[in-house]
Symmetry: C2
Subunit: 190 residues, 2 copies
């Protein structure tokens, strides 16, 4: 049996991904999670910001494991890179362009308006890059190059999510995937 707090966090993470922070009301989180409004404040005394911070951290950690699992145990980094973007395109199509990055929308909203939440989004991105660079390095890529390639890959993925959600088409993501794979191959000396 899933606890009330977990259901609140899960519902919040989904709504933040699809509608952003300002576009998501606590009433909506309450009804979607099946938890009373009072329960939200019971588990998150700091109110909306407190809840959003937790939801972003949990969603960021989930997405990290998704990335991590995908690249773990790979032998061909070039092939893995192209497949990674193909997977992102497939998820976009399967969810009618709703499920993309769980952090990006809120990150852009709060970057200039809420320093506490901005720091949370920065921490999530930093952890993604750290762990991704670690995986690349384990596969024989020099630490510096690994970190650069992961940074560019994540940036391109985020830009791809943006272009594809706006256009309701995955064409851009596939183009981006092929070119990022080419970049990885080039920088690995192939």
């Amino acid at each position: 049996m899933k606890g009330t707090k977990e259901r609140i966090i899960e519902a919040t993470a989904g709504l933040l991904m699809r509608q952003g922070l300002a576009g998501t009301g606590l009433k909506q989180i309450s009804s979607q999670s099946g938890a009373a409004l009072g329960s939200l404040y019971h588990f998150f005394p700091g109110g909306k910001d407190d809840l959003a911070a937790d939801a972003l951290r949990v969603a960021g950690r989930s997405y990290l494991h998704l990335i991590d699992d995908y690249f773990t145990g790979r032998t061909d980094l070039v092939e893995a890179t192209e497949g990674f973007f193909e997977g992102a395109a497939a998820v976009l199509e399967a969810t009618d362009y709703a499920d993309a990055c769980p952090i990006a929308t809120v990150a852009l909203e709060v970057a200039s308006t809420n320093d506490m939440l901005r720091q949370v989004t920065a921490d999530v991105f930093a952890e993604w890059i750290d762990v991704g660079a670690q995986r690349f390095a384990e596969m024989g890529v020099s630490p510096d190059v690994a970190r650069e390639l992961v940074t560019v890959t994540i940036a391109a993925l985020e830009g791809g999510f943006l272009l594809c959600r706006a256009a309701k088409s995955t064409d851009a993501m596939r183009v981006i995937g092929r070119n990022m794979a080419a970049l990885v191959a080039h920088r690995l000396g192939r």
Copy 2:
């Protein structure tokens, strides 16, 4: 003397870029532009969505000219690409990470919630890619490769804005710029 309608659009575009759509109130647009609330509805009878659509189109066109002017008359595309990202990094630093993409925040907010505004953001991105590809093609790049490179460049730029605004650092943008320049060089056979 600048007209009221122009001041409203300008104020709206700036607020949408920094705070997003749901985070920006009409009252705030009214006070920031110096126009009465009634004037907003006089010029934009369709209300907030009507005004937002116009502000996005105008801001998108301005940014298009910025990109267009930067790449026009260039001889070295590789050098231009790296300089383009350096310029983006400089603007972020000069504005304390407030001025980045005028479309991205709203695009992510409305992608799953407001189809009319989603289409506006899609049109802006499409025009950026069309014009950028045209410029690249004029410099001797084959139309297909030109379109691919511009798509990846814009995606990487958007991802760079996201990572840099969250981290309040331009490190990622410079890494991305160097690697995108390397990709352009590689795909141009250099």
